[in-house]
């Protein structure tokens, strides 16, 4: 009587007769007899959480989330709202994908393993590196894992990890937590017009460095112009060059392998996930050299007993459930379903679609910056660089006030300085650009 279920779990199929028969089979009078909890720690209170029907629950969540305003988000800085084709939702939502567990029994999980293998292959092509795992949580934790990998493979006396001064606080802070249990120390290097300040970096790099981290594009949307030099600096000092990027940027920008990257991290969910309050997909790729030090899960090809190709989780001796405290990471549940979605979205776009999406990220950002720059009291972009999908604009008036005024008109932008806003075109429909420029004009007056 599910429509009116008021007691018990609505998802337990038991009838009263079932329960009685089962209790009899186990020789218990009541379910209470099956619990072996000392009276002193028994809970005899209530949570005070009401039972609701499915319909009421849906309405409750709809009501609560209804309090979120409807804004056109010109937001990026690590999390993007690209349009995800309907195909991805419909196929990824098939319950076989959505409700299965990690593929510990590969013989009945071939479909998911193949999809993850294809995801890994996508990253191999994008990065030019030989090995990609089948996901970390997000860009920040992937960066943290890169640092601990660097410590493992560079176990000299070195302990310095160099990151850009502009690094997002969430990534920096997460990195600090990941290295808290190690000897590593995170240090900043300066940027110059939103690119790596190569001269300054050269001063800072020494044999104590185990890792140099850079991002492309940088957090301000600028495309890096000195990546090869960064790679050279790192390798000259036997430090790992860890590059942060994402699948759309990687479709167009310099291939990590070509600039000497040892590890690529970043958020792969720019494809596959809509805006989702920061939920992401940690990308992690590296070279064959570090294969056995890779954190997280790897899917490999093998053969079954009939010699047909089959897929399986492999090199599990790196992992926590086998190696425990000597594992390459503590990660267990990762973001497999998001990786599936990312692979689907990439396959939907194909290489033409991916390159096109990236190129439009360049031209649309350029165009919008130009239009904002036309407004008196605005300079955009601030940085004399090529940009991908976002850029910084300088405003004469206080930036927070401008952002707040824009929000009242239905637009969200980042405040990144007292007089600096950051504006992102990723996922913003073309027809919202004119109204945005118009609103910008209004609030700048």
């Amino acid at each position: 009587m599910h429509g009116t279920h008021t007691t018990g779990s609505p998802y337990a199929p038991h009838t009263e007769e079932d329960r009685s028969a089962m209790l009899e089979a186990v020789g218990a009078e009541s379910v209470d007899d099956l619990f072996d909890i000392p009276a002193a720690v028994e809970f005899d209170g209530e949570f005070g959480i009401d039972v609701r029907s499915e319909r009421e629950t849906r309405r409750l969540v709809r009501t609560i989330l209804g309090r979120n305003d409807e804004l056109t988000e010109l937001l990026g800085r690590g999390h993007y709202g690209y349009y995800v084709p309907s195909l991805v939702d419909h196929l990824a939502d098939r319950s076989e994908f959505l409700t299965s567990y990690t593929q510990y029994q590969p013989e009945i999980s071939q479909g998911f393993l193949q999809a993850l293998f294809e995801y890994q292959s996508l990253l191999v092509e994008l990065t030019g590196l030989e090995v990609a795992n089948c996901s970390m949580y997000d860009a920040a934790t992937a960066l943290g894992e890169a640092a601990t990998l660097a410590e493992r493979v560079r176990d000299t006396s070195g302990h310095r990890v160099l990151v850009p001064d502009l690094l997002l606080e969430g990534r920096r802070s997460t990195l600090e937590n990941y290295v808290a249990g190690t000897d590593l120390v995170v240090e900043e290097y300066p940027t110059d017009d939103a690119n790596v300040d190569l001269a300054a970096l050269e001063e800072l790099v020494d044999e104590e460095c185990v890792m140099v981290y850079a991002e492309n594009p940088t957090v301000r949307g600028a495309i890096e112009e000195g990546l090869e030099s960064v790679g050279d600096l790192a390798s000259d000092h036997d430090a790992l060059f860890v590059l942060g990027s994402d699948p759309i940027a990687l479709s167009l920008l310099q291939r990590p392998a070509d600039v000497g990257a040892d590890v690529v991290v970043g958020d792969a969910s720019v494809l596959g996930l809509p805006t989702s309050y920061g939920m992401g997909l940690g990308l992690f790729a590296t070279t064959d050299d570090y294969l056995r030090q890779v954190p997280g899960r790897l899917v490999g090809a093998s053969e079954d007993a009939t010699d047909r190709r089959a897929f399986t989780l492999t090199l599990q001796t790196r992992e926590q459930h086998i190696r425990r405290e000597r594992a390459t990471s503590n990660i267990c549940t990762n973001q497999a379903w998001v990786a599936l979605r990312t692979a689907m979205h990439a396959a939907y776009l194909g290489p033409n679609g991916m390159v096109d999406l990236a190129e439009r990220g360049v031209t649309r950002a350029e165009d919008l910056a130009e239009r904002l720059d036309d407004i008196v009291g605005v300079k955009a972009p601030v940085h004399d660089r090529h940009h991908l999908r976002e850029f910084v604009a300088r405003v004469d008036q206080p930036a927070p006030a401008i952002a707040s005024d824009l929000e009242k008109r239905g637009f969200a932008v980042h405040v990144v300085g007292d007089h600096e806003l950051q504006v992102c075109v990723a996922g913003v429909p073309d027809e919202r650009i004119d109204p945005f420029v118009a609103a910008f004009r209004e609030v700048i007056r």
């Binding site: 000392p38 098939r94 191999v124 396959a347």
Partner: protein, 480 residues
Amino acid sequence: EYEPLLSEKDQTRVEIGGGDGDDGDDSADGGSPLPDDLTRDSLELPELSEPELARHYTRLSQMIYGIDSGPYPLGSCTMKYNPKFTEDVAALPKAAVHPDRSERSTQGTLELMYRLQDYLGRIGGMDAVTLQPPAGAAGEFVGIRVAAAYHEHNGEGHRDEVIIPESAHGTNFASAALGGYDVVSLPSDDGGRVDLEALEAALSENTAALMLTNPNTLGLFERDIEEIAEMVHDVGGLLYYDGANLNALLGRARPGDMGFDVMHYNVHKTFATPHGGGGPGAGPVGVVDELAPFLPAPRVRENGESESEPGYELFDPEHTIGKVHGYQGNWLVLVKAFAYIARLGDEGLTDASATAVLNANYLASRIEYEVPYEPFHHEFVASAGGQDAADVAKRMLDYGVHPPTTKWPEIVPEALMTEPTEVEGKGTLDRLAAAFNAVAGEDDETLADAPERTTARRIDQTSAARSPRLSWQALGSDEE
């Protein structure tokens, strides 16, 4: 039937370039809007149409066993039915907001997080909750980091040991190690529980924390929990609760009441969010008041601006450890967990645990394999005896059911760690027991040849690991 790789269906190479970097109309003439030295040369990937992709992924899905395919009694990995409606609420357009939006414009998201923090606090008996950890292991790491920060704050930064029972989940060890701790492994007593003497011996002024699962991985309740808590606290250590087995206790006992200081919740295990073939999960962490200042930043609280219509805001705990995720964790998973809790309420949650325990006991009573340790709760560990537990699992696949977790915990020889959860009815449990018992009667050769009715037959793990082929690029042309 075999499904080709995407790369075996198509490989299209796109050449990139022709751009001079000028602000001209490059895209119109097919050239790149960027100068060549900033771009890659080409990109080679499959290019397929939507109908072809629909068939590819439909076919792949048909080669996967999910919770809607049948029972999934993976011990300690609770796989329960994922209510369909939770997908609908997570797909609400208003759930899709950017994490950098103003608090003013995201009151709905903040309220839902606030309410979920509150629900979880009540369920676990904890004073403060963070939703940020994106999985259970991440929750453990937060617990470890919080403990470290707490000790450091109290001038006890010298504490460098975390004690973990031998039978604990592997993540406990790895999380403690990631946090920089030495792991002190604790043997079980004859009854399968914490050996108090061994614990006494392990505890010292260097003890930062004891990590405990309760019921433990054998399904046994740690009856001495009060004494354990006292012992740990006496030496100045903290008590960590691994929430993997919380589905056994809802409404019957709360970690906070047992003396635990910090715990994580596995929302997919306890609150029925889908596991997605390996994530995304969520591993919120609850703590007692004393540890609340150390939780990750930010958390959500009422802003106190209006009593009639409460508003919400983010805040950084006073001595926060900072962040363990770039943003606020796996938000969409949290929405589903909230919806599940709001649907079941007190009665549903309590009944879920009661029924899960009934189911485990009933199933154990029906199978012929020996179950050495009891009284167990929501899961039990049988022994395959003279059979190889991994082979037993492979053979169970031939009977159309998902097998239990095998060969772990090691305290039981050839362990078959079995957790049916509350969603399996008597009929399904009988079918599952029949599968166990059919395999119990079979010879080693049959087991070693299993499975024979699955999409793929037994897969060669050794070859997979010896010569890793981790991408289609690595497969070589003979396979393509």
